[in-house]
């Protein structure tokens, strides 16, 4: 159970948006995490230092938040480990094939009014809802 947290959602979303704007305004880049990470592991694609430092910032943020607020961010994963592994494979393969994820397509792509991103977002939202429905209410996995 988690409560609806509108203020935190709006504030957090704004920060994500500002980050995307900084990435574009300063570096001319889409703040799409799957693309940033994918480019880091792929041979031949450059700007490894930009990619690595951005991702390091992602990792550091919850630690900084924890240090300053005294509150450790919650990370609760109700899915059993097997599902986590299969899901991870699908997220990795799917974002690579589909050229983006929630930040790349859902935020940055749609902000550019990209038709590809709109379709991608509708697709992953659709199968996301369906998957949870089947796992939770169909199969009773969690």
């Amino acid at each position: 159970m988690t409560e609806f947290t509108p203020i935190e959602a709006l504030v957090g979303g704004m920060l994500i948006g500002l980050s995307a704007l900084a990435a574009m305004g300063l570096f001319g880049r889409i703040a799409g995490i799957s693309g940033i990470l994918g480019g880091l592991i792929a041979p031949g694609i450059g700007d490894r230092l930009w990619r690595f430092s951005f991702l390091l910032g992602l990792v550091a943020a919850p630690l900084g938040y924890w240090a300053i607020s005294g509150e450790k961010p919650s990370v609760v994963m109700p899915s059993p480990t097997g599902l986590v592994i299969i899901g991870g494979l699908l997220v990795g393969a799917g974002t690579a094939l589909g050229s983006g994820c929630t930040s790349g397509h859902g935020v940055c792509g749609m902000a550019r009014l990209s038709r590809r991103s709109l379709v991608a977002t509708l697709c992953f939202m659709g199968t996301g809802f369906l998957t949870v429905f089947i796992l939770r209410h169909g199969l009773g996995v969690w």
């Binding site: 159970m1 957090g12 979303g13 995307a20 570096f27 951005f54 930040s103 659709g126 199968t127």
Partner: protein
């Protein structure tokens, strides 16, 4: 060097957004995706807020000829909606629904999560590598 400090800070900003909105918590994401059950609409507000800021900001930014520290804006070319886009996104959504994680929150959660985060990340990297390798082998350009 200061450019990389800046990209680090941009990553921190993004991560803080994920932490404050609690998108770093798979349970919160899964509750959004659970329309028929313990539905928590927070995620849609996160996305709307991020989208709103980015939409307005991009329109202003693209009035400029180029970004501050690069020669050009690196934007994806092409608007073709093909099977790879649809299929890939559909698969991603299934994985997202299975775990409550997408790439950003999973990476952000490394230092504050449990061993499941690690399993997810390793699997995700394997999935990415395999898909990209297959994409290249098929003679098509790998996604950016």
């Amino acid at each position: 060097m200061r450019h990389y400090l800046m990209s680090f800070l941009i990553g921190v900003l993004f991560g803080l957004g994920l932490v404050i909105s609690m998108m770093v918590n798979p349970q919160k994401v899964l509750n959004f995706l659970d329309l028929a059950g313990t539905f928590d609409p927070s995620l849609i507000l996160v996305m709307a807020s991020a989208l709103g800021v980015t939409f307005i900001g991009y329109r202003l930014l693209f009035q400029c000829r180029k970004p501050l520290w690069a020669d050009q804006f690196s934007l994806p070319a092409g608007e073709i909606v093909d099977a790879r886009l649809i299929g890939g996104s559909a698969l991603f959504g299934i994985g997202w629904g299975m775990t409550g994680f997408c790439p950003g929150p999973a990476i952000a959660a490394i230092a504050v999560g449990n061993e499941k985060v690690f399993y997810f990340l390793v699997s995700m990297l394997v999935g990415m590598a395999v898909a990209r390798w297959l994409g290249r082998s098929a003679g098509r350009r790998a996604p950016e």
